[in-house]
Amino acid sequence: MSDVIRTTGLVKRYGRQNALDGLDLAVGAGDIHGFLGPNGAGKSTTIRILLGLARASGGTAAVFGRDPWRDAVALHRRLAYVPGDVNVWPNLSGGESIDVLARLRGADTRSAAYRTERERLEHVFAFDPRKKGRAYSKGNRQKVALIAAFSVPAELYILDEPTSGLDPLMEVVFRREVTRVKDAGATVLLSSHILSEVEQLCDRVSIIRAGKVVEAGTLADLRHLTRTEVSFDAAGTTADGIAEAHDVSVADGRVRFTVDSDAVASVLPELATRRVTGLRIEPPSLEELFLRHYGDDLTAGSTR
């Protein structure tokens, strides 16, 4: 009942094409929820429906328990949005654009609280607000949207690939701000295809593919679904006779195999008796999870 966002069987058709094909998404209150998928999987379409910018062709969507299409204005008072491809008004300065968006969300831009917060954000994001919109680079346009979103408190932050165009230093700043709003009790829906970002920030993850959520859960849940990779120097030893080992291979002077994530501890004694060197045990990354769901696309693409 505490879900901030809930969609069931969400369908969106553009002509004959199904952009969303029965999408079920649930984002709990106070969570940072990762929304993962490649370009064209339907992430932005889902977000546009959640914002009431597009209307679902089928299924239901609820934000704070209300219909995002009908109650768009009321809902927008409680949320902040950062689009993935930010366009700013070419003849307004960056500072003006930030203020306009903040005021429209109901902030008093002359209040000391807002002013200090905006200044702090401009400082940490190293942003110059005195240039005209058309003079900003992609990363700086992104900063306009980020500063506008984070400078006014909201209950829900919808971030659509928010770090595209940001440099790695700014990505660190971004992660700090997301953690800050989470600590203040906000819910965050973070759409991304940058796995490390999601891995570092998110409590729960939904992986979307071709308009459907194909995997959802906490990172620990998802890790459970895949295997841990074990590797060591091939000099003098092999993996022969380790019952739990799958997919054994020898390449580049190293022996590699995978084990089920809950069986890692049981192979350790065996490795110890063989006195292996250069041992590395790598927990499954989100990348592997991702590849598992999209890997066939990649191979299909390469054979074409």
Binding site: L51, Y81, P83, D85, W89, P90, D99, V100, R103, T109
Partner: protein, 537 residues
């Protein structure tokens, strides 16, 4: 270089077809209209005499050079053909220079071995080709209608040369201003002012005794329109003013190359000033935002309105002077005016033009809503507590204010024109207010129709809006000249608006217009409630 040129030609294929084809069709259409409406020499002699006596007509037409079919056609249409070429060219020049640079595409090309200057040179060659094609097709159109070959060629070359001049203006604008929008505005304003200067030069010129030919006042020679009109196709077939125009155009193009080769990519001669860091009080609602985005455009249209209003009343005094000096003019005026004075006629014509300006202003602002939608800025806006209906209503409201400002500017201009006279006839001011108010209502029709298209067929908004204004202008302003049936002329809101005649105020289709505005406005807002955002395309 060849690749760059081919890319430009390919990108502009449809522009070529529409603009050049449209210009040639207009040329051919005029000849057939002249044949139909002014088939006899006497008809043409009479119309020329009227025109020579009436500075208002002179302002909007070419230079009279005689009453034979060719010279008369040149008088009627040459400046408009040239204006078509000018608009095509100046937009085209900016599209391939500053607009591309603004969008970051130039950077992509300049990083290849093509370098910084070659794309500009390709753009210049592109403009030469476009205008050469236009010159050729216009000449062919006239030839095909049976006009003499030399004159047809001179008329075609004149239009093309002026087009290339405007191309040069566009190129310079692209060097001076930092955005495609400003560069386009610069091109349009320069060419409009040039048009007006030539028109004034002709209006203030000296008519020959039989009123068939006018010697331009020196003022006309400050405008490229004045040059090509003084080529007088089918009368003198004078090529050197055309050559002068082409030469100056080439100079402008060369100057743009010189400027381009010394500046950094992305820089402009007029540097961007440091903008303010925080938003002013005006920017505290979505309506304020629309105002901030559009007020420079509104100011421009209001100035246009002011100038038109000023001319409407101040030219009438020039008119009465001409009447007292030339007995033949006086006779003509008496025959023409049948109850209504020529001064009132001038006000009606100019304020119809103001109606066109107000409609343009409105369509531009509603069109801006569509551009914001296609550009994606509206997404961030609608993710705040601003509803879709409110968003559209903001644009319609500001468009209404813009149209009101344009008409208001014209009324102020009319008052200023009267105040400058020794014995002003203030009843003319009343006429100006009545006609102006009527045209305001007509402009509202264009605003709501464009808003309606925005809700139903968003991608067609700009095309439909501007096409309707263009059609209404041609039909409403020039329909009577081409002797189109009244019912067609009155389909154009600007022609159906209330007007004044010799016997008082004629309400005409006012109530129809008001009904259209109310229904269209309500329908567009109601439909917006049900519409999704439609991205670019």
């Amino acid at each position: 270089m060849i690749t760059l040129l081919r890319q430009r030609l390919r990108r502009d294929l449809w522009q070529f077809v529409i603009w050049i084809g449209g210009t040639a069709v207009l040329a051919a259409f005029t000849v057939s209209a002249v044949n139909g409406s002014y088939g006899t020499e006497t008809d043409r002699v009479n119309l020329l005499a009227t025109a020579a006596a009436n500075p208002v007509i002179m302002l909007f037409r070419g230079l009279p050079s005689g009453a034979d079919l060719g010279a008369f056609t040149g008088f009627l249409i040459l400046p408009f053909l040239a204006m078509m070429a000018a608009f095509m060219s100046s937009f085209m020049a900016v599209r391939h220079t500053r607009a591309d640079e603004d969008a970051g595409r130039t950077e992509l090309v300049a990083a290849t071995p093509a370098g910084r200057v070659a794309p500009l040179v390709a753009t210049i060659v592109h403009g030469l080709i476009a205008n050469a094609l236009l010159a050729m097709l216009v000449a062919v159109a006239f030839l095909a209608c049976g006009l003499p070959a030399t004159g047809s060629l001179v008329a075609g070359l004149g239009s093309g040369a002026l087009g290339f001049f405007a191309y040069g203006v566009g190129l310079i604008g692209a060097q001076v201003f930092a955005s495609g929008r400003s560069a386009n505005a610069f091109g349009v304003w320069v060419m409009l002012v040039a048009y007006l200067v030539a028109g004034l030069g002709n209006a203030l010129g000296t008519p020959s005794a039989d009123l068939q030919r006018i010697q331009s006042a020196p003022l006309a020679w400050f405008s490229p329109y004045g040059w090509i009109e003084n080529a007088r196709p089918w009368a003198d077939d004078n090529l050197w003013p055309v050559a002068l125009c082409a030469l100056v155009a080439a100079g402008l193009a060369a100057a743009s190359v010189a400027l381009q080769s010394v500046r950094d990519l992305g820089e402009s001669l007029l540097p961007e000033r440091r903008a303010r860091a925080t938003a002013g009080a005006a920017l505290s609602s979505s309506t304020g935002l629309v105002w901030a985005l559009t007020w420079p455009a509104i100011l421009g249209w209001a100035i246009g309105g002011f100038v038109s209003g000023l001319l409407a009343t101040s030219l009438s005094s020039v008119l009465s002077q001409a009447a007292t000096q030339l007995p033949s003019v006086e006779q003509l005026l008496a025959a023409l005016t049948q109850g209504g004075s020529l001064a009132v006629g001038a006000i009606v014509i100019f304020f119809t033009l103001v109606g066109v300006l107000a409609a343009c202003c409105g369509v531009q602002i509603v069109g801006r809503a569509r551009q914001e939608e296609a550009h994606g800025t509206v997404e961030a806006l609608l993710a705040t507590p601003v509803g879709r209906v409110r968003w559209l209503a903001d644009y319609v409201a500001i468009a209404t204010i813009g149209a009101a400002a344009t008409v208001g500017g014209a009324i102020v201009g009319a008052a200023a024109g009267l105040a400058g006279q020794s014995a002003p006839d203030w009843s003319l001011f009343g006429d100006a207010v009545v006609v102006g108010a009527g045209q305001f209502v007509a402009a509202l029709v264009f605003i709501v129709v464009t808003a309606l298209v925005l809700t139903v067929l968003p991608r067609a908004t700009l095309a439909v809006g501007w096409t309707l204004v263009g059609l209404a202008t041609v039909v409403g302003l020039f329909g009577p000249l081409y002797r189109l049936p009244d019912w067609i002329v009155h389909l154009a809101p600007i022609a159906a608006a209330p007007t004044v005649t010799g016997s008082g105020t004629d309400v005409q289709g006012l109530w129809w217009l008001v009904a259209a505005v109310l229904i269209g406005g309500a329908a567009s807002l109601a439909l917006m409630r049900r519409r999704e955002l439609a991205g670019d395309g």
